[in-house]
């Protein structure tokens, strides 16, 4: 019998990845990956360049299929349903699984239009409602105070860090369950990085976050779980604390202590 507290702590896996393989043409980029992404936790994906970590995160919302030569096998269960199934709507998947990219990519539109783009394409037309969503999302992305007086200015007038937070707000505007972040701070300066990291810590109370990062410190600071990838293999996956204090695999230890990668 489990105590009530144990039941409370027991979180569900939102993504269950089973025997996932992925090829770019003839090059295998992911090899038999098995991993569970837990709900309302931050999962960090680390590993050297070219290890498949970006590919992995882009598979979770099937963005990887933008490259025509990609082939996959295995399954990714999202809320228990395989996202590779024929009947599974890729647009619906991406509506609940948002993504923040390495380089901030706001649309060349106003700050307001950027945030309400998602709600608008998903059928929300009411002006007042859209304004509410914009305010709420920008507040959640810790950007509201900086932009509230210039919502109609072009998003390209914002600094890099602000643009990245705008992209986060743009995701939040359609209330996703999951946020995928592909090295979201690698194009930002240390101060902007610090602000975005702070934001991620805020967001992890409400969203499931999967973040790819090159920074060991970032992974250690903000994540609950860490997965270490090496040339397409998942080497080690576990609680961040455990991985960083006593890694089971020599290769993980070498990587996190900076001996290679």
């Amino acid at each position: 019998m489990k105590t009530i507290n144990e039941l409370k702590d027991e979180k569900k896996a939102i993504f269950s990845i089973k025997n996932l393989n992925l090829w770019y043409g003839n090059d295998q980029a992911l090899k038999n990956i098995n991993i569970d992404i837990m709900e309302k936790e931050v999962t960090a994906i680390i590993g050297p360049s070219g290890c498949g970590k970006s590919t992995f995160i882009k598979t979770l919302n099937r963005m990887v299929e933008m490259i025509p030569i990609v082939k996959t096998s295995g399954e990714i269960l999202y809320h228990g349903k395989n996202i590779f199934d024929k009947g599974f709507g890729v647009e619906e998947l991406r509506t609940t699984v948002g993504m923040v990219f390495q380089k901030p990519n706001p649309f060349p539109k106003s700050i307001y239009e950027n945030v309400v783009y998602g709600p608008k394409i998903h059928g929300i037309k009411d002006k007042r409602k859209l304004m509410e969503i914009a305010e709420e999302s920008l507040k959640s992305a810790a950007l509201w105070d900086e932009v509230k007086d210039r919502l109609n200015d072009n998003a390209y007038g914002l600094s890099g860090g602000q643009q990245q937070r705008l992209c986060i707000a743009r995701c939040l505007a359609i209330q996703p369950d999951v946020l995928l972040m592909d090295e979201p701070t690698s194009a930002l300066d240390p101060i902007a990085t610090h602000r975005v990291e702070g934001l991620i810590e805020e967001l992890k109370n409400h969203y499931t976050i999967v973040i790819v990062t090159h920074s060991m410190h970032q992974a250690a600071r903000i994540s609950d779980n860490t997965a270490f990838f090496l040339s397409g293999d998942l080497i080690e996956f576990g609680k961040t604390q455990a991985i960083f204090s006593k890694p089971r695999d020599k290769r993980t230890e070498d990587y996190i202590t900076g001996r290679f990668g």
Partner: protein, 305 residues
């Protein structure tokens, strides 16, 4: 390895390189100058000879709907020609813009790389067909086809050459719009797809707005092309100098007027002869305005990315 590489470089630099570096800019500049001088020359010729026409004919007559240059009592109202040009160009744009833009969207956002690589050259082949062939096509194929559908269509009319002119400029619109859409960074598309957009939403709500300046510029360039187009309208729209908005009737455009007159018997030095320069000048002003408009629009609506 020898250590005298640096010596050789220094020696070589002193020799031929310098003299060539001095001569080339002059050659480049002269080449650029040729086109500029030609343009200025054309404008000056047009303006001076057109002035002779504007002095000889009262202003009220020029902006009238009566055009009869070879009559015993010649009339030089330019409105029928302007009307003819605008009419055929409008018809052309009504064909070229929707077809050209949708095929550009298809090529840029929907077609696979393989299809795109094959289709684009074929489309651009359309642009290489001599306009006289299009004119013949309009007169001998499209007009009879239209006559079967539209009763009362004259053998020479504004509709048929307008449509064919539209077909002719489709590749221009497609090619330039597609270039504009293609240069929209993929990061923007990814951002939109990641929010659950469909392909159509990405194309219409992200790519087209981001490329709108280039797309509009392609429209305006296409209009310029239609206004200046000569052979098709000369062959298929006849030479009626009536002022009419009826597209089933024969009309004459500014360009066709110039063709008719220069191949006919306008005596040098007559008012009719100088009227050619006046029409040429007005054509020039039309296309100049179009180009300025294109520049203004692309500056105003530019979504920088």
């Amino acid at each position: 390895m020898n250590n005298n590489v640096r010596e050789i470089i220094l020696k070589n630099n002193k020799k031929q390189k310098k003299s060539l570096d001095n001569v080339m800019p002059v050659i480049f500049f002269t080449a650029a100058l040729i086109s500029i001088i030609t343009t200025i020359g054309i404008v000056l010729t047009l303006v001076f000879d057109a002035l002779k026409f504007f002095r000889a004919v009262p202003f009220a007559d020029i902006f009238s709907t009566q055009l009869a240059p070879l009559a015993a009592n010649p009339r030089f109202g330019i409105l029928p020609l302007i009307n003819g040009t605008i009419l055929t160009s409008l018809i052309a744009m009504m064909v070229a813009i929707p077809v050209g833009l949708t095929s550009a969207i298809y090529l840029s956002e929907f077609a696979t790389e393989k299809i795109r690589k094959r289709l684009k050259p074929i489309m651009e082949l359309l642009a290489g067909i001599p306009t006289i062939v299009y004119g013949f096509f309009a007169y001998s194929f499209v007009t009879p086809l239209l006559m079967a559908v539209i009763p009362g269509l004259e053998a020479k009319n504004a509709l048929s050459p307008g449509i064919v002119m539209g077909i002719m400029i489709i590749p221009l619109v497609t090619s330039l719009s597609e270039d504009a859409m293609n240069s929209v960074p993929n990061a923007l598309r990814e951002g939109a797809y990641a929010l659950g957009s469909t392909r159509l939403e990405v194309a219409v709500k992200v790519v087209i707005p981001a490329a709108i300046s280039g797309i509009i510029a392609s429209f305006v360039l296409a209009i310029s092309r239609a206004i200046g187009e000569t052979m098709i309208v000369t062959i298929a729209s006849g030479s009626s100098k009536n002022f009419t908005f009826d597209i089933t009737k024969s009309i004459q455009t500014m360009t066709a007027y110039i063709v008719e007159f220069t191949s006919g018997d306008a005596g040098s030095g007559t008012v009719g002869y100088y009227s050619l320069y006046a029409v040429g000048l007005i054509l020039f002003v039309f296309t100049l305005l179009m180009n300025l408009l294109a520049q203004y629009i692309s500056r105003k609506y530019r979504e920088e990315y």
